[in-house]
């Protein structure tokens, strides 16, 4: 696809073709970290929200240029760790320090048993299990929520249809704006991206 559509009516006509109902977004191609950096800053300032940059290597400061908010993952991980601590305490208190029945799919009974002459509820002995459960909960939550919040695993992505996009892992930098963005309008967004002087501008189907 050519970088710059020539006339406004042509663009309008394309938006109403049946094909464009499946339009996923627009992809602009750049050839340097500096170019994508400036483009990201301008896209951020234009108020777009559903957009992303694809670069062959991490471009330092790009997240700030894109205006990406800090992740809430650490806060969730903190509470996951705290949950692990509570479960570690309850589990050991019930299994070693009590003798009442609890229904956990089947009826189970706490088994109060003196081990090594220590008290029934012997907190220092619990510490390793509490610690390990805290680590387990925090670690699994970190990995699991990281995947979830990033929408992974994803086996298909519209950008992969583009032949140009293969160079995103080599020497080209891409900025994609999705059609679901509230500010997206094919005509205006295309004009805006053209204004960023990309090497190419491509429409992507879903």
């Amino acid at each position: 696809m050519s970088a710059a559509p020539t006339t406004a009516p042509a663009r309008t006509r394309r938006t109403v073709t049946p094909d464009s109902t499946r339009l996923w977004g627009l992809m602009a191609e750049f050839d340097s970290p500096e170019a994508i950096f400036t483009a990201a800053e301008r896209t951020r300032d234009a108020g777009y929200r559903w957009w992303d940059c694809c670069t062959p290597f991490p471009v330092h400061g790009l997240d700030k240029a894109m205006g990406i908010k800090p992740t809430i993952l650490p806060i969730l991980v903190f509470f996951a760790g705290a949950t692990g601590v509570v479960i570690g305490i309850l589990l050991q208190w019930f299994t070693n320090g009590t003798s009442f029945d609890v229904w956990a799919l089947v009826w189970v009974r706490g088994y109060d048993y003196i081990i090594s002459g220590k008290p029934m509820s012997s907190v220092p002995a619990w510490a390793p299990v509490i610690f390990e459960l805290m680590v387990l909960f925090a670690a699994l939550t970190t990995v699991g929520l990281m995947l979830l919040l990033n929408g992974l695993p994803r086996l298909y992505h519209p950008t992969l249809k583009s032949a140009r996009f293969a160079r995103a892992t080599n020497d080209r930098f891409f900025l994609v704006v999705e059609a679901r963005d509230p500010r997206f309008s094919l005509a205006k967004t295309e004009a805006f991206l053209n204004d960023l002087n990309p090497l190419s501008l491509e429409r992507l189907e879903a």
Binding site: F78, A125, A127
Partner: protein, 421 residues
């Protein structure tokens, strides 16, 4: 380009040396007066040992961390490395402060401090340990430890400063070549120094993890001191562009990781194995610290040295706020001083041999806290402040002429541009 005087202590150095050194000497003079009034030499030397271990841990941590930088070829930390080297360089003269203890041991009056020196009464367990725990070997080891520390800290400091002038990358290579051997030497000397100077205060008791526990305290002391040193220098208008919040955050992470979490982990590991096995010869050390007045002190350390800073330092926001992290660093230094006090001061009570139960022992200790060595005295504070003052002055003296950053280190640009997020 930044003006060079922002890389030099300049007029700050003599001022710090005068003020901190003067205050330190005054505090030491007060300590000596207090000790003479008190009249108990052993009590004074216990106090002195707490202060000495406290000021030793700061440069020891600096030496450890300097070696780590060369071992890993770290880039992020280069802007801070001269300050680490400067702190570590104090190991070249800190042996002077060890002389009083050395003289005490040589004079044969140290058996109040190190009971294994006392040959007057027969002790089967100590006789078995005598090949290691005897005055001669102990003195040789002490000289060896200080010799190795002085050599290593001098080597890394000298080479790094020499590179400032020539920019020759061979200095970097030389330091990287020695780093693995230096790390092994550091680990052995620090571990056995902890055994010799702190663990042998209760010579019947032993713990293989003791050296690691001491190392965790060393990290706590050093990272806190590094934060305070950078904070002070930036207040003086030095290194304002070179050391960024990113560096603060990373040193804060290390303080959190090693000085708080690792310290708690090792301290608890030491406790739990002994508590669980419940073997009499091992539990004595912990009974002294968990019965009577030291019980409160142990809880204070657990909550104050672990729980509170764990929650406060877990977020990046406290680590990225200069004043907040400096406040935390002061707090952690106080906690570390209490940790050293808790390590040295408690005595295993003789009442342990006839006590019928822990409860009875606890009551007996409560009625006479001195039997577990709980005798807080003003000289504990003045002696600590005195030696700390000398250490501050010594650090300023080490850094008085050289640049405050390794200006021609090949990885400096990496450190200046370093970002966490």
């Amino acid at each position: 380009m930044v003006t060079p005087d922002r890389h030099q202590l300049g007029a700050v150095a003599p001022r710090v040396i005068r003020l901190a050194g003067g205050a330190g000497l005054v505090a030491l003079a007060i300590t000596i007066v207090l000790a003479l009034v008190d009249g108990d030499a052993t009590r004074f030397f216990r106090s002195y040992l707490v202060a000495l271990l406290f000021v030793l841990t700061i440069p020891l941590g600096g030496l450890f961390f300097t070696i780590v930088q060369h071992l890993t070829r770290a880039g992020w930390s280069v802007a801070l490395r001269r300050l680490m080297e400067g702190l570590a360089a104090n190991l070249q003269w800190l042996w002077i402060l060890f002389i009083p203890i050395l003289v005490l041991v040589i004079s044969g009056r140290a058996d109040g401090l190190f009971p294994w020196l006392d040959h007057a009464h027969h002790d089967h367990a100590l006789e078995h340990k005598a090949p290691y725990l005897n005055a001669g070997f102990w003195i040789v080891r002490a000289i060896l430890f200080f010799g190795i520390w002085a050599f290593l800290s001098r080597f890394f400091f000298r080479n790094s400063v020499a590179q400032d002038a020539s920019g020759d990358v061979r200095y970097t290579h030389a330091m990287q070549r020695l780093a693995p051997v230096a790390m092994i030497m550091y680990a052995l000397t620090q571990t056995f120094a902890a055994f010799d100077w702190a663990m042998s205060l209760s010579p019947h008791w032993f713990s293989t993890i003791f050296g690691v526990y001491f190392f965790a305290g060393t990290c706590c002391a050093f990272f806190s001191s590094l934060i305070l040193l950078v904070f002070f220098l930036q207040r003086q208008g030095k290194l304002e562009n070179e050391v960024t919040l990113e560096h603060y955050q990373d040193v804060g992470k290390l303080l959190f990781g090693f000085g708080v979490a690792f310290w708690g982990y090792i301290g608890f590991s030491q406790f739990m194995l002994i508590w669980y096995a419940n073997i009499p010869e091992e539990t004595t050390w912990w009974i002294a610290r968990t019965q009577g007045p030291w019980r409160t002190f142990t809880w204070l350390l657990f909550i104050g040295h672990f729980c509170i800073p764990f929650v406060v330092l877990i977020t990046k926001h406290t680590k990225r706020h200069r004043i907040v992290i400096a406040g935390i660093a002061v707090y952690m230094l106080v906690m570390h001083a209490l940790d050293m006090y808790w390590l040295v001061m408690p005595l295993i009570p003789d009442a342990l041999h006839h006590a019928t139960s822990l409860q009875a022992l606890g009551n007996e200790i409560e009625s006479d806290p001195a039997m577990v060595g709980f005798t807080p005295h003003l000289m504990d504070v003045t002696c600590l402040l005195g030696l700390l003052g000398l250490l501050v002055a010594g650090t300023a003296y080490q850094l008085r002429r050289c640049s405050l950053i390794p200006v021609r280190d090949p990885r400096l640009s990496e450190s200046l541009a370093f970002e966490n997020m």
